[in-house]
Symmetry: C2
Subunit: 595 residues, 2 copies
């Protein structure tokens, strides 16, 4: 052997092990010399244990121990002994014992790392990403990766137990005309042609249903070449699911059971099923969001009926133009200063609100410039409806429904966090259902599919294709957790006549539909079962369950916001020879003057 | 509901179910009208059942049943009844019963499929691939996908039970200068730069070891843009494994246990462990292959010592030039005609053999033009060594060792198959070990790494770096099953001085090494544990376990030999706008005249 292999893991030693001889392998977390005795915190993936090099016990081992430094890889052999009462460390599970070293071997040396290998470090993320292999040594990163492994396994085990087959679909696929921007892969064998990396296996999973596979799933990498917002990744992982001959209720119940199981096994949290269910309309109305955080209240309250005829012209004129007036009650915040409210106004402005009206109820006084426009009766109705108590602050937005929802929804979340209204121990799951099937695209002057062109309408709404397509509700559903959309899906159209109505509503001619979705439509001709499915965002689920705040912390080797891997320095220029073989050439974009 | 959901699966009905009312959903496999009664074989993923539309039992259902055609999707409700004795079908599990239909609903119609949905069809593979969603309906395809799911799950369960974490590594990675050709992905955000799709997660798994993860695995898609041989896929799936602080013996034992478990659970086949182990030298010597099929004998026998001084000048001169003379005993084939042997000669010629010498032992006669060049004593030694019995045919090749191995190895496999020597029920696992660390590249006039530049040499061979690098044996191993290499790996170098010797042997300067492997070498500076791993080819393992003959049959949506998906028609041309955004342009290769 080239080194002495461990007999036991560092983090597992306990008082019960006192007296036994052990061999440990690991990294030097810390090394201290106290009066000639060397104390080393030795780390492996299970945790830390203190190992001691005492020259009086073994001079040779002490001499070598003297040479070790932070992050050296060592193998030590020694006896587990109890610590003196005063040196017991109650903060670590191995804190009652230590290992008296009789043999040590330096397996490998190490340069001093650029940051400490410990939790809650305050280090620039760029540095963490550049030295990701060191960042990943930190216990909180290990715990997150371990949790990700467990969550993934639980999804697989559950789906397997319910008769789902995991089936792999291609990564080198065809570029599709709709949806987000594709990542392209030039084909060498077919010059001038390109593969696309999949944005999702949507088409393949529907084909598997046509092929009679009944229950498919796949935990699969997907790709979107979008302009990255703060917390998006160009490659992300999806738990992709599709079923045949099931109705929506059966599918949703199964998905609830799966999520409840994951929460129970991973966090020992009991999640009640069935999940709360909100229609899209209700979610927007009450929370100003289609992914409401249901861990706290502060619902949006509609006072349109009062605003319509009130003396405050801003409100009444918005109502006349078909807008909305809604408010939230910020409990106990009547003490907010003018300046505070101005800040809130600015915040709401980012969501399109042109103003933020307010009323504060302090003892018997009503503060706020708009109060005078309302009759006593109107005030009384508002107080009633918004459950006003002493010291409450009411905030109102009057605008188009979207602006009202966005701005008040955002304010609600802001207060939820800042006022500590959110019970962080809660896992508030819900379904948002009855999404509109179609959305009017003002630019294209046509309807576009909110979900995708194969989403099944509710049967009782199909007749609206001829009269009011915008009112059709889809058999589509999002799973929401703590204010995040963690999954979404739909039942799919399987009837030819419904599909034709859908294409017509989208403004596609037969030829266009064939061109865009050709082989899928062909496949649908050969006996398509009723089917539907869902896809979950694994990275995001892990982020929430692990209590992390960034998707990057849930991915072993993530990309930066500018879609780079700064550890390996990818992407990077390649040899011209490589490009020549692929029949492509780089044509650098012209620099524009205004840059 | 939009259709009547099944109460039970078609293929599961048995005599015990007689008398119960069932609802079935599925596809019409076959429809026959026998004297006004309609018999339909209804199919779902569990199998077939016969459903009967009898006008005397239900006229309405019969009228609708009359309209169904092959591959229609239907829902039927009815009573399970016993079949008449004379109509029992012992060939299918549901053959003792049938379902008397009282209600039927046509869920979806179907065009007539281009081929029958049944096993062992004789259809051009191009057609099967174009209509893959129909091909996948065939029971043997379903069974293969189900087996693939099970095998994959068993790998995961085993590795999880042994403390491995599945960790996802990036698909958008950096192009590496060594190895096969990369698939490239242009970066839009970083014009002129490219990602590469991973040929394997090799670098990332080694980084995870540096990061202290101890036991990593991933079932992961890999990509190689190679000129496709008959049975290669541009994207393939690997069971990728890496461990730290384990020695080679521990790792191999664990992998044996894993494979034995898979065979037991999936096929109920008991595989003995430990696996047989052959050195690379032994495998080449005895089987002419580094992935020998050990399900039968017919080993290569070296008669170099006899050939050296024999009267047959072709043999003796090859020996003088440092070549080899070896033979195989084709038992009982002395009756082969001149023409038969000529065919074999041609076959051997494809592997570089310039000739094929033969001797046939028929009763007391020795046939074959070379017999006369050997003394009686020489013949007797040959007979002895090659265990010749009456009617045996000996075939000899005299050439460079590589040609001898390739041609006799190929002949051995050919006879194994054609003479039925292979026990198809056997799963002959073995390890091939002690591969050479380095291979002399005649073109580059330097050594190249046989496995990769981080493969650890056997400690007792390290001193050969200075004297005879070609003789160094690597701590590398391949797992072999029935003549296929199903996995391979190595212990990795973790000591700086050994790594430097390795780079020197490969002819890399410090600068070159840094340029090629920069960040990995940097990472190795921060405390690298002893580590090593292995990767298995999942597609190939599934192919062998499922008894299929092509990798394409193990992949739901494979590519053709020219790297195309003919169902979706990928790759395909894309919009110029897309290319412009990526800062690339297509430059079609010039047509050469000799095409």
């Amino acid at each position: 052997m080239e080194f002495q292999q461990r007999s036991v893991f560092c983090g597992t030693l306990r008082k019960l092990d006192v007296g036994s001889e052990v061999t440990l392998n690991g990294w030097v977390q810390k090394r201290r010399d106290l009066g000639g005795v060397i104390f080393v915190d030795l780390r492996d993936r299970t945790g830390l244990v203190q190992v001691v090099f005492n020259p009086e016990i073994n001079a040779e081992a002490h001499a070598i121990g003297d040479k070790v430094r932070t992050e050296y890889v060592i193998s030590v052999k020694g006896k587990v002994v109890e610590r003196d009462a005063e040196t017991i460390n109650p903060n670590i599970p191995t804190g009652e014992i230590e290992v008296q070293v009789s043999e040590i071997e330096i397996i490998n040396q190490a340069k001093t790392p650029p940051f400490f290998i410990e939790d809650d470090i305050d280090v620039d993320e760029q540095v963490r990403l550049k030295y990701r292999y060191l960042d990943l040594r930190r216990p909180e990163m290990y715990r997150t990766m371990e949790l990700r492994h467990k969550v993934t396994k639980l999804f697989r085990d559950y789906l397997d137990s319910r008769g789902f087959l995991e089936i792999e679909t291609p990564m080198l696929t065809k570029s599709t005309p709709e949806g987000a921007r594709d990542y392209l892969v030039p084909s060498r064998v077919n010059p001038g042609e390109f593969f696309a990396l999949p944005q999702s296996p949507q088409i393949f999973k529907q084909l598997l249903m046509v092929a009679g596979y009944e229950r498919y799933f796949q935990i699969v990498r997907c790709f979107r070449d979008e302009d990255l917002r703060a917390d998006r990744q160009p490659e992300f992982t999806q738990v992709d699911i599709e079923t045949s001959f099931l109705n929506m209720e059966d599918l949703l119940a199964m998905m609830e059971e799966m999520m409840a199981k994951v929460c129970k096994e991973v966090l020992n949290v009991t999640v009640e099923t069935p999940f709360r269910r909100l229609t899209y309309a209700e979610a927007m109305e009450r929370y100003g969001s289609d992914k409401p955080d249901l861990r706290f209240g502060m619902e949006l309250v509609n006072i349109g009926d009062i605003a319509e005829n009130c003396g405050f012209q801003v409100f009444s004129s918005v109502m006349k133009k078909g807008g909305q007036v809604k408010g939230i009650n910020v409990k106990g915040c009547a003490y907010y200063s003018r300046k505070d409210v101005d800040e809130l106004m600015k915040f709401a402005g980012r969501y399109g609100a042109k103003g933020l009206a307010w009323m504060a109820f302090k003892d018997d006084e009503i503060k706020g410039p708009i109060a005078k426009f309302f009759t006593e009766e109107e005030i009384s109705t508002i107080k009633d409806r918004m459950q006003v108590e002493n010291n409450d602050l009411l905030l109102f937005v009057a605008d188009k429904p979207k602006v009202v929802a966005d701005s008040l929804g955002a304010l609600r979340l802001k207060f939820g966090k800042e006022l500590g209204l959110i019970d962080e121990s809660k896992f508030a799951f819900a379904w948002v259902v009855d999404f509109p099937l179609l959305e009017w695209d003002e630019d294209a002057k046509r309807y576009v599919a909110l979900h995708h062109p194969f989403t099944r309408p509710r049967p009782e709404d199909v007749h609206l294709f001829d009269t009011n397509p915008g009112q059709i509700r889809a058999q589509a559903y999002d799973m929401v957790l703590n204010g995040f959309e963690i999954g979404g899906g739909s039942m799919r159209i399987y009837k030819r006549d419904v599909q034709e109505k859908m294409f017509k509503a989208l403004g596609f001619s037969q030829e266009e539909a064939q061109e865009k979705f050709g082989f899928l439509l062909d496949a649908f001709e050969y006996g398509t079962p009723p089917h539907g499915g869902i896809a979950f965002g694994l990275d995001r689920i892990v982020m929430i369950l692990a209590g992390r705040s960034s998707l990057r912390d849930t991915i072993a080797f993530p990309k930066t916001a500018s879609a780079r891997d700064i550890m390996t320095d990818a992407p990077s220029p390649v040899d011209n020879k490589q490009l020549e073989e692929l029949s492509v050439r780089v044509v650098m974009p012209k620099k524009t003057d205004d840059k």
